[in-house]
């Protein structure tokens, strides 16, 4: 037992509470500092856990039994194991760095207090989600995160399109939230418990195929929507409407990783349904491929990164699907580092170019902002998985290589490898366009220490964190997979000559991709770039098709429900009858209660008589 685990989500939630209650009196400068302090305090608590329990983390804190009705017990129970320890570390520490970066980045914005309230709540919700030991609490965190993402994406709500983007993010993820909730209901109806550990034990002990199939599909849709996987990825590119720091938070530390985390946590549920894991793997590989191809043709700096997020999350689902969740978690960690870095750096770039997102209008920033350039390059290298020196190489290529071993592995491998090629290409296309080439001078922008420190820390992490786990057979540290083996089981890894071949192919593909990226940047400057390929630039027209065909169907259905079911059936038919009945009944009864004592007495006597008759009749 560890009775202080609640401190971890407690601090950010307290920060949000203080901000909401007393922020007006504290003033913005105080609110800002306090908001940044909270995730730092959570990180300190997490650091203590790392120091004390790093080898075999297994901590439980039953904070409070909210209600117990019959066999249903709703507990606020927190649990730390290896997987959730990684997750909370990311959420709290990356969250802290983003808070720190925001201090200067958003100074003087019109909604600063509101911003920090949601930022704190966001981190708190994510920590609750990851630490929850039952599905109910997990869902609470899940919804909190969804709400905060809506509010933060629409942060600059005075522009209508930003408000719409927030709404889109909310509505699309809501589809998943709803199915996830139904999935939880199904599981509870079958197994009468929401405790994740007991639930998974019971699932493996007494599987009910039909229920498990339905529940796993529903839960999976929830995870896919949250993690922006095809075809529910629609909300994520639009979520770029929020401030860049928000994108960093949503895409790196919180929110989108929730879906991956859920699928890792509930892996036994998916594994209990034959073929389910393979579907997840295929969806992941396909999403990685699809989003990478879209990334090639984007001209908005943040949209490139947005598609890269979708693509990288695809790799994580691929890892989960091929039975290597430990690798998925590894890539999640690496991705959190470099994606937070890239978004924050992109935010600075956008500020330099006076809120212009178009990378074709940028160039040669390397001399003007050397620190920004080097840190950005570190992040890009990790995204492109530059061999040997970047963390992405150790996490992403491990997934690609392992996918070869899965059933029908060739297909998964081909998709993943093609995605890797395109990833390297669009990543370096972005880098070359923004930082190399002839200089286009933007506004002078001085990075303060509050911005430099997070960038430097994340840059070091983007390079170095991959060295936790070298490829199989290589000399060097192999820490990650053994550490997680007890919890997530053995990870399939190619060995011998096969491994060597796969690794060489992967590295070669990346290098070719970088070369293509260089070319793509040159073409773009010459005005004949990939962005002219409308099919890719518009993301295969999925969004357009969805917006063309879905709304009429949905609105048509809604209209039918409103006019046909609601008005005709419910309001006029059922409710109308009830309401009219109640109204007339009410009038009639009121007539009886007209204030005449004699009538009251008669009524009482009548009631008494009725009671007597009832009783005698009943005996």
């Amino acid at each position: 037992m560890a009775d202080w685990l609640w401190l971890i989500p407690g601090f950010p939630l307290l920060g949000a509470l203080i901000n909401a209650g007393f922020g007006q009196w504290l003033g913005v400068p105080m609110v800002k500092r306090l908001a940044a302090l909270m995730p730092l305090l959570s990180s300190v608590v997490i650091l203590v856990i790392w120091l004390e329990h790093a080898t075999h983390p297994e901590l439980v804190d039953r904070v409070w039994t909210w209600m117990a009705v019959g066999s249903f017990v709703a507990e606020i129970g927190l649990r730390i194991d290896a997987v959730s320890l990684v997750m909370v570390s990311i959420a709290a520490f990356a969250g802290f760095l983003i808070h720190l970066y925001s201090q200067q980045f958003l100074a003087g914005d019109y909604g600063e207090r509101r911003y920090y309230f949601y930022l704190n709540l966001f981190v708190g919700g994510m920590l609750v989600l990851t630490m929850a030991d039952n599905l109910l609490l997990l869902y609470l965190g899940w919804e909190t995160v969804g709400l905060c993402s809506y509010a933060l994406v629409a942060h600059w709500y005075r522009q209508k399109k930003n408000a719409w983007a927030g709404r889109k993010a909310f509505v699309v993820t809501r589809i998943g939230d709803t199915t996830f909730a139904i999935g939880i209901f199904l599981l509870f109806a079958q197994y009468h418990t929401l405790d994740i550990h007991r639930l998974l034990q019971m699932i493996s002990g007494q599987p009910v195929p039909s229920v498990l199939l339905a529940a796993s599909v529903l839960v999976l849709i929830g995870a896919l929507a949250k993690s922006a996987q095809f075809p529910l990825h629609l909300w994520l590119p639009d979520s770029m409407a929020g401030p860049s720091t928000v994108s960093a938070l949503i895409h790196a530390a919180t929110m989108v990783t929730a879906g991956v985390y859920l699928s890792i946590r509930l892996l036994p549920l998916f594994a209990a349904v034959p073929g389910m894991l393979w579907v997840i793997a295929l969806l992941g590989a396909w999403t990685a491929f699809f989003a990478a191809s879209c990334g090639l043709a984007q001209v908005d700096i943040k949209r490139v990164l947005a598609y890269s997020t979708i693509s990288q999350l695809g790799y994580m689902f691929l890892a989960v699907g091929i039975g290597a969740p430990a690798l998925g978690l590894f890539h999640l960690l690496v991705h959190a580092c470099f994606k937070a870095l890239l978004f924050m750096a992109a935010g600075a770039v956008i500020s330099i170019y006076a809120e212009d997102h178009d990378i074709r209008h940028m160039g040669g920033l390397k001399n003007q902002q050397p620190l920004l350039r080097w840190t950005f390059l570190a992040g890009i290298s990790a995204l492109a998985a530059v061999p040997l020196i970047s963390a992405g190489f150790y996490s992403k290529d491990a997934i690609i290589d392992a996918s070869w071993l899965a059933p029908h592995g060739a297909l998964l491998y081909a998709l993943a490898l093609a995605a890797a090629l395109m990833t390297a290409a669009y990543a370096f296309r972005l880098y070359f366009l923004v930082f190399e080439g002839e200089p286009r001078v933007g506004e002078p922008y001085q990075l303060g220490w509050g911005m430099k420190i997070p960038l430097l820390i994340l840059a070091v992490a983007s390079i170095g964190i991959g060295w936790l786990q070298f490829p199989p057979g290589w000399p060097g540290p192999h820490l990650w997979l053994p550490w997680l083996r007890a919890e997530l089981g053995p990870t399939p890894e190619p060995s011998g000559n096969l491994a060597l071949v796969l690794e060489t192919v992967g590295a070669a593909v990346t290098l070719v991709g970088i070369w293509l990226g260089y070319l793509a940047a040159r073409w773009e400057r010459q005005g004949r770039g990939l962005s002219r390929i409308g099919f890719l630039a518009h993301a295969w027209y999925v969004d357009a098709v969805a917006l063309r065909f879905l709304p009429p169907v949905v609105y048509g259905g809604a209209r039918f429900l409103r006019l046909g079911v609601e008005h005709l059936l419910f309001r006029s038919g059922i409710l109308g009858g009830i309401r009219e009945g109640l109204q007339w009944g009410g009038v009639g009864l009121v007539w009886g209660e007209n204030g005449l004592v004699s009538r009251y007495v008669a009524f009482m006597g009548f009631g008494l008589l009725l009671l007597l008759l009832l009783l005698w009749g009943g005996l």
């Binding site: 209600m67 009705v69 109640l582 109204q583 009944g585 009410g586 009038v587 009864l589 009121v590 209660e593 204030g595 004592v597 009251y600 007495v601 009524f603 009482m604 009548f606 009631g607 008494l608 009725l610 009671l611 007597l612 009832l614 009783l615 005698w616 009943g618 005996l619």
Partner: protein, 481 residues
Amino acid sequence: MPTLMHHWTFAIPEIWVLVMACAVLLVDLFWGHRSPHLAPVLSVVTILGAMLLTTAQWGLSGSSFAGQLLLDPFTIVAELSVELLSLLVLLYSPRYLRERGLYRGEVFVLLLFALLGSMIMISGGNLLTLYLGLELLALSQYALVALQRDNPRAVEAALKYFILGALASGLLLYGMSLLYGLTGSLDIAQIAQGLVNVGADNFVLTMALVFVVAGIAFKLGAAPFHMWIPDAYQGAPTVMTLFMATAPKVAAFALVIRILAQGNAGAVEIWQQIFVALAIASLLIGNVVAIAQSNLKRMLAYSTVSNVGFLSLGIVAGNANGLASAFYYVLVYALMAAAGFGMILLLSREGFEAENIADFAGLAQRRPWYALLMLIIMFSMAGVPPTVGFTAKLAVFQALVQAGYVPLAVFAILMAVVGAFYYLRVVKVMYFDPVPENAPQLARDGLASAVLSVNSVALLLLGILPGALLATCFHALQGVL
């Protein structure tokens, strides 16, 4: 045999209140015109002292004065709650009474006597004692309703209440006399023993119980014996409505425990059936008629009827579990009613009663905090989680379903939905309707608004943390039935 000292210690809260009520009467007579605050302050001291003395009895149990007064966990919990509710009334009332020229000693003396009556109804172990307490409470209430002698409405309400109350007392007495005839005793415990030989299918016993229950139902306000409630609630000064809706309901519930659960445990099937009929009638009439009300006090009066219907469901369950949940429900309801009428009282001013629902229009813009409190109160009455109203309904329904009355539970839940309509309408009016142009200025009342805040927030907190109070209620009624 308990010694004389025992008798005194067992009855000490009642004796304290009696002595102090007489003292307040005398003190007010001689010094009242010079210092008007003397009587209310002394009354508060009296109630605080009574609460202290009651608490000191915790853990004791037994009977005193030859079974006239009983002391058991139920006595202590119920007496504490009526004392607390009376204290709430006193704390809510000063400004309201002053503005209407009612800030006089006799009001407080009458309140103290009403409290004493409630306490005797709770602790009485003999039909005669119980009836004595009931009449003491009722007579004080008649006078309290008629406090504004120059207000014809109040006088009319008091007169109606008096006539119907006398009739109900007659019914109760008739039932009691039949019980005495059957068993030859007025003592609760001896009646219970005597009934062992009578048998549940006895014709006279059925009749006795119908009359007794009719009398209790009148005090509770269960349909069809509820007719006095809307008139009395509307006509009485709001402070008195606040009192009538709270402590006497707990006292009336105590009669259920004493006379029915303890005295007629053997005839449980009979009074269960009676309460089924009462519950159905109360739920139906209370909820349906409340929809048609535009006067908030009348609406809350019908809501009382419907709430009595809900608490009857716990009695219908007919076991210790159900009675405990009904007890919990009545305590929760008293707290909710105190807050609801407290809000009307707070918004009323000299010459103006904020008793129409329309008076609450746009309250959220004028006083957001009050609107939020009223929202909590209305949500709690409607039974929306996480307020305590939800937990109370849940407890009652649970007991009912466990006892096998599923169709009745379904009916009650449907009626709860109907009820939600008129509670939520108040919320809608507060938050979505515009402020009327000639809206009167709102008064400042620090004491009452502080008490109301505590009272309403308690509704929320008790709903989030229902365990302690629920456990106390179950403890209090352990072993009954």
